[in-house]
């Protein structure tokens, strides 16, 4: 039972990332409110981060910090003992990119609110069309 | 001789001259006299350069000059051969006269944007000369497009909605044609890997790998590309373009642009396909049929016209197709006639157009039915018109006779009696539509108390009893009268001395290259 469930949970990771990605995409496309769109965009990004972290997982391995690192030369280091660090590094970058994009997006949203007095996309559209 | 005027540099200087002139014109925008001197000076120099090449070509063969490599196997190069010189000489000699005429015409009508006018005119000449001298299809295409684009502002010169829409029509037909021309060039390049003109044609090696049908389709692409030749049904830009100022219609739509089209067709027929391949593919007959159709229909159109310039436009279409039919006969005599007709028709038709312009500028009349009695008011103009008109149908002491004679001989030579008949019918129809003009001008009486509107400053009342000599009323009119008189005189000279400007020798040489003998 435990193994089967574990198997399910592990592939469940991929399912969850796909579902999250779709939630995000749907929000970006359909939601009317700009802040909601931004949230959707962020969900897409986190979903991809989840995917990458799942790539890095390694059975029977521990976090990628070498134990007894201070006198490292004395212990042989086996790659199988540590989780793949590369996706983590990439995802650190991705998180930072996500927050940077978020900052710019929110600034734009504030500016749009100042210009149109609303955050609803359809209202903005009607205002643009009236001109 | 070395340097800029060495023999090998003459094609280049012939091409550069109009460019330099164009920019000098642009720079002297504010000083009309200087601007027009540049035009005149440039045209004279251009003519001298071009005509200085003909003895060399006759003696030593083509002058070649390669500028730079454009595409693999295609250079931006000039190759001055006999046939090219025929066209170049015609255009450059007529540019002088038309420049002169333009001064009179533009000033007496007080046209706007004259700098633009002269600038574009010089560029158009660049196009024409370039087409004449280029040694391969791509170089020719470059100049062909320059010619199209530079004449667009000239057509739309009046800037009325009508003129602009005529300009659009012009662009649509010619650039649309240019696209087909480009396809033709591409296909030629793909089939044989080169696009250089050769007196025996270059496409014959392609017949094996490519089917006959491909080559036939490519030929029609080329033909569509030369919409400038105004064959039916791609002719309708030409009558609309007549809204342009008359000097433009005269030089460009009687000589440079339309002849560039015909010139291109001859280049394609003789220098790309070659006579043998044309015969093998049966394209001569197809081309001749199109041309024959155009001749008949254009003549019928012309008969119904009341606007003189439109009538002349249909006459041009008719004569262009006459050249096409002559080429399509694929016999030495006929091709020689076609080449001669490029020059001769140019001189005659320009006479007619210049007359039409002079009539409009001086008397303010455009419709043929209003011309009654003008023969007495403008005797020189109308005499010149008479000469031009007779030249059109090939009456003996005029240039048209020579070329038509050659074509008729050529038709007999190739045994195409059907087309011979059509040529003759065409000539007879020429008489029919020119008749009303001649009758009106010389035998009609000007209605009494009619005001001539042409002169903007003073209204001149003309009565049938005491006709005033309009032509010589103001000194500026001489700028118009003299050129048309000169072209009329040349129309006669070409009949008596066909070898003026070595035209006849050049044509003979070209035909010899193509057929290996007359």
């Amino acid at each position: 039972m435990g193994d089967l469930a574990k198997e399910f949970v592990t592939t469940y990771n991929y399912w969850v990332y796909i579902i999250l990605m779709m939630i995000g995409l749907y929000a970006v496309m359909v939601k009317n409110n700009l802040v909601k769109k931004i949230i959707g965009m962020n969900i897409v990004q986190t979903a991809i981060i989840l995917f990458f972290i799942s790539i890095g997982a390694k059975r029977g391995a521990t976090i990628p910090i070498i134990a007894h690192g201070h006198n490292g030369g004395e212990h042989a280091v086996h790659a199988a003992d540590y989780i793949n660090p590369l996706p983590h590094v990439l995802m650190l970058t991705a998180i930072v990119v996500a927050v940077a994009t978020l900052g710019v997006a929110l600034s734009l949203a504030i500016k749009i609110y100042q210009e149109y007095g609303t955050l609803e996309e359809d209202d903005i559209r009607t205002q643009t069309r009236e001109e | 001789m070395t340097g800029m005027f060495g023999i090998e540099y003459r094609p280049l200087s012939a091409v550069l001259l109009p460019i330099i002139v164009a920019f000098l014109i642009l720079l002297s925008n504010k000083r009309p006299n200087l601007r027009e001197s540049w035009t005149l000076l440039g045209s004279v120099l251009l003519f001298l350069t071009v005509s200085s090449m003909s003895p060399i070509v006759l003696a030593e063969g083509p002058i070649q000059w390669t500028w730079f490599n454009l595409l693999p196997n295609i250079d931006f190069a000039f190759n001055v051969d006999a046939f090219g010189l025929v066209f170049a000489t015609t255009s450059s000699s007529l540019w002088i006269l038309v420049s002169l005429y333009s001064i009179g015409y533009m000033r007496s009508l007080k046209e706007h944007a004259q700098t633009r006018y002269y600038f574009c005119f010089a560029l158009a000449l660049l196009g024409a000369i370039g087409i004449a001298l280029s040694s391969n299809l791509v170089t020719m295409f470059v100049f062909y497009e320059i010619l199209t684009l530079s004449t667009y502002p000239l057509v739309a010169h009046e800037e009325s909605p009508e003129a602009i829409s005529a300009g659009h029509k012009y662009l649509a037909y010619l650039l649309g044609g240019g696209v087909f021309f480009l396809i033709g060039i591409l296909m030629t390049y793909l089939l044989v890997g080169t696009t250089d003109f050769n007196a025996h044609g270059i496409l014959s090696p392609a017949l094996g790998p490519a089917s006959k049908l491909t080559l036939q389709v490519v030929f029609f692409c080329f033909l569509l590309g030369f919409a400038k030749a105004a064959w039916m049904p791609v002719h309708s830009w030409l009558p609309s373009a007549m809204i342009a100022p008359t000097p433009v219609s005269a030089l460009l739509h009687a000589v440079a642009v339309v002849k560039a089209g015909v010139f291109g067709v001859i280049r394609i027929v003789c220098y790309i396909y070659g006579i043998d391949l044309m015969q093998e593919l049966g394209l001569g007959l197809a081309l001749a049929s199109i041309a024959a159709f155009t001749i008949v229909v254009a003549n019928l159109y012309a008969i119904g016209q009341d606007n003189l310039k439109r009538m002349l436009a249909y006459s041009t279409i008719n004569q262009l197709s006459f050249i096409l039919i002559a080429v399509a006969l694929l016999s030495p005599m006929a091709v020689a006639g076609a080449m001669l007709h490029i020059t001769f028709h140019g001189f005659m038709k320009i006479t007619l157009f210049l007359c039409a312009g002079a009539i409009t500028a001086i008397s303010g009349k455009k419709a043929i039915s209003e011309f009654k009695g003008l023969g007495r008011a403008m005797p020189i103009t109308m005499t010149a018109f008479l000469i031009g008109a007779f030249g059109m149908f090939g009456a003996p002491p005029l240039a048209g006779f020579i070329s038509k004679w050659h074509v008729v001989l050529g038709a007999v030579q190739s045994g195409q009696l059907v087309f011979l008949t059509i040529i003759l019918i065409g000539s007879i129809l020429d008489v029919v539509y020119f008749c009303p003009v001649i009758i009106n001008t010389f035998f009609g009486k000007m209605p009494e108390t009619e005001t001539l509107k042409g002169d903007l400053e003073e209204k001149v009342e003309v009565y049938s009893e005491k006709v005033e000599r309009l032509e010589t009323k103001r000194p500026i009119y001489y700028f118009m009268i003299i050129p048309l008189a000169i072209t009329a005189v040349f129309s006669i000279i070409f009949c008596i001395l066909p070898n003026t400007f070595s035209i006849y020798d050049l044509v003979q040489m070209a035909v010899k290259d193509i057929f290996g003998g007359m």
């Binding site: 435990g2 969850v16 009317n32 802040v35 909601k36 986190t46 976090i63 930072v96 996500a98 900052g103 | -």
Partner: protein, 81 residues
Amino acid sequence: MNWQIEFIILTMVIILGIGAITVKDLLGAGILFGAYSFMMCLLWAIMGAVDVAFTEASVGAGVSTVFFISAVFRTTRGTKD
């Protein structure tokens, strides 16, 4: 016991994600998104990506939420969807 926690968190992530984009109050959406980020951070910590989890905790759950709230504060809280 590990996989049960993981399973619960994965489900929570989906629920919070859907919540963040459906709730009618933008401030609430921002907070829910913060919670979502925090769940993500837990998930990654479980999966051994400690550095990423740390960053997500400070950036995603912390600063991002503050940004959202200040943006909502400067614009409007209500929304039609």
